[in-house]
């Protein structure tokens, strides 16, 4: 691979991130370092990027999508719930003269044809605001990808994801253990920054059947309270105030 990791990282520094991050959506930017590392590994250690159709779930302002373009993806599609993030992603792609399709959708109601992309990449919300949402990202990815899902999740949730993988016939490979540095972004954050240990994983989904994923998704749908997906009003209210107790119950099936 001609392009070097450090060059990808440098190029990603110009990607504009969330101008007004939305706490309810757990919007934290994926650092250029993390994004470059994840996609570079996918490209050079596993052949999951070059000449592949890559789907970025929860693309935010497009960091992983852009990294995928840089590293030779045949085509990239990014999906996010937030119109502001998507607009920023669009601008980022335009500025870099890169081609990627963007779609506005939430992850719970998203329907894509099973095994319709080669690779899914994702840095999803960890589920601190909407319990279990990280699992939905994982399951949707496992359903959409023919070969592999690259994911970041809290190392503390490792056992949960390994169980989930086993349930659907996938296997998890730990690619790296990293620290996800979340700088003070919200007024109520008291510390200057917080380090979260994350697993960067490659999930082999080549043996996963859509039926197996649907079974688990149906199970969770019963357990997870659904939310109205038009969050605009809620977000406008919530932006200025520090977080109150979540309006929705955090009850869900399965441990973490």
């Amino acid at each position: 691979m001609a392009i070097k990791l450090k060059h990808v990282e440098a190029a990603l520094e110009s990607v504009e991130v969330f101008s007004s991050p939305k706490y309810e959506l757990e919007q934290y930017p994926t650092s250029p370092h993390l994004a470059a590392r994840m996609i570079f590994t996918a490209a050079t250690s596993f052949e999951d990027i070059v000449d592949r159709h890559v789907l970025d779930l929860g693309c935010g302002t497009g960091m992983l999508s852009i990294a995928s373009c840089f590293l030779g993806a045949g085509a990239v599609t990014g999906i996010d719930i937030d119109p502001d993030a998507i607009a920023q992603a669009h601008e980022n792609l335009d500025n870099l003269e890169l081609d990627a399709d963007l779609v506005l959708s939430d992850i719970e109601h998203l329907k894509v044809a099973p095994k319709s992309v080669d690779t899914v990449v994702s840095n999803p919300p960890f589920g601190t605001r909407h319990a279990g949402i990280d699992s939905v990202f994982f399951l949707q990815g496992a359903r959409a990808a023919r070969n592999a899902v690259y994911l970041l999740y809290k190392s503390s949730t490792r056992a949960h994801f390994e169980r989930l993988s086993a349930q659907i016939g996938a296997s998890v490979q730990l690619v790296a253990e990293m620290r996800f540095d979340i700088p003070k972004m919200y007024a109520f954050h008291r510390q200057k920054s917080v380090d979260i240990e994350v697993d960067m994983v490659r999930v082999d989904v080549s043996s996963v059947t859509p039926a197996a994923v649907d079974a688990v998704l149906a199970d969770r749908a019963a357990a997870l309270p659904s939310a109205p997906v038009d969050l605009a009003a809620e977000l406008a209210e919530g932006a200025a105030a520090p977080p109150a107790a979540p309006a929705r119950s955090n009850a869900r099936a399965g441990g973490r």
């Binding site: 592949r52 159709h53 779609v103 109601h109 998203l110 044809a113 992309v117 109205p228 038009d230």
Partner: protein, 144 residues
């Protein structure tokens, strides 16, 4: 939105299992040349939902040179691959709608970005309401 992405999208209307493929009502369409990557097109050809792709390309008037059914010979034919590349990656639907084939619900495409988000009243919990929430007549398109 290029047809490579259209090929994977399904209607998000609740209770609809067969919401594929989405019909396209295109208003503004742009063509942007992009480098032909033969390896990628060869790899994609076997994996596309071919019927949906040809139907979409036909709607957009870019189906010329695309066989109705793809033979092994077609898959190795350079000219066919070029036509596939064009229809799949060079044609962008900028403005218009994607339409649920089951309910007629329209999803707006704006600045090339389809909005698959449902309205609050389309997201209800009980099964009966889910069926009622999908009007037979085309509903107002989601605003972006």
């Amino acid at each position: 939105m290029r047809l490579i992405t259209h090929n994977m999208l399904k209607s998000s209307v609740r209770g609809v299992e067969d919401g594929y493929p989405l019909a396209i009502e295109a208003e503004e369409v742009e063509t942007e040349e992009t480098e032909f990557n033969q390896e990628f097109i060869e790899a994609m050809v076997g994996k596309l939902e071919w019927g949906a792709f040809v139907a979409a390309a036909t709607t957009l008037g870019v189906a010329e040179g695309l066989p109705e059914e793809l033979s092994d010979e077609d898959k190795g034919n350079g000219e066919v691959l070029q036509r596939i590349h064009h229809a799949l990656l060079e044609v962008h639907v900028i403005t218009g709608f994607l339409v649920c084939p089951s309910t007629g619900r329209k999803f707006k495409v704006h600045k090339g970005i389809p909005n698959m988000l449902l309205h609050e009243d389309e997201v209800v919990e009980d099964g009966a309401a889910a069926a009622a929430a999908a009007p037979a007549e085309a509903a107002a398109a989601a605003s972006s």
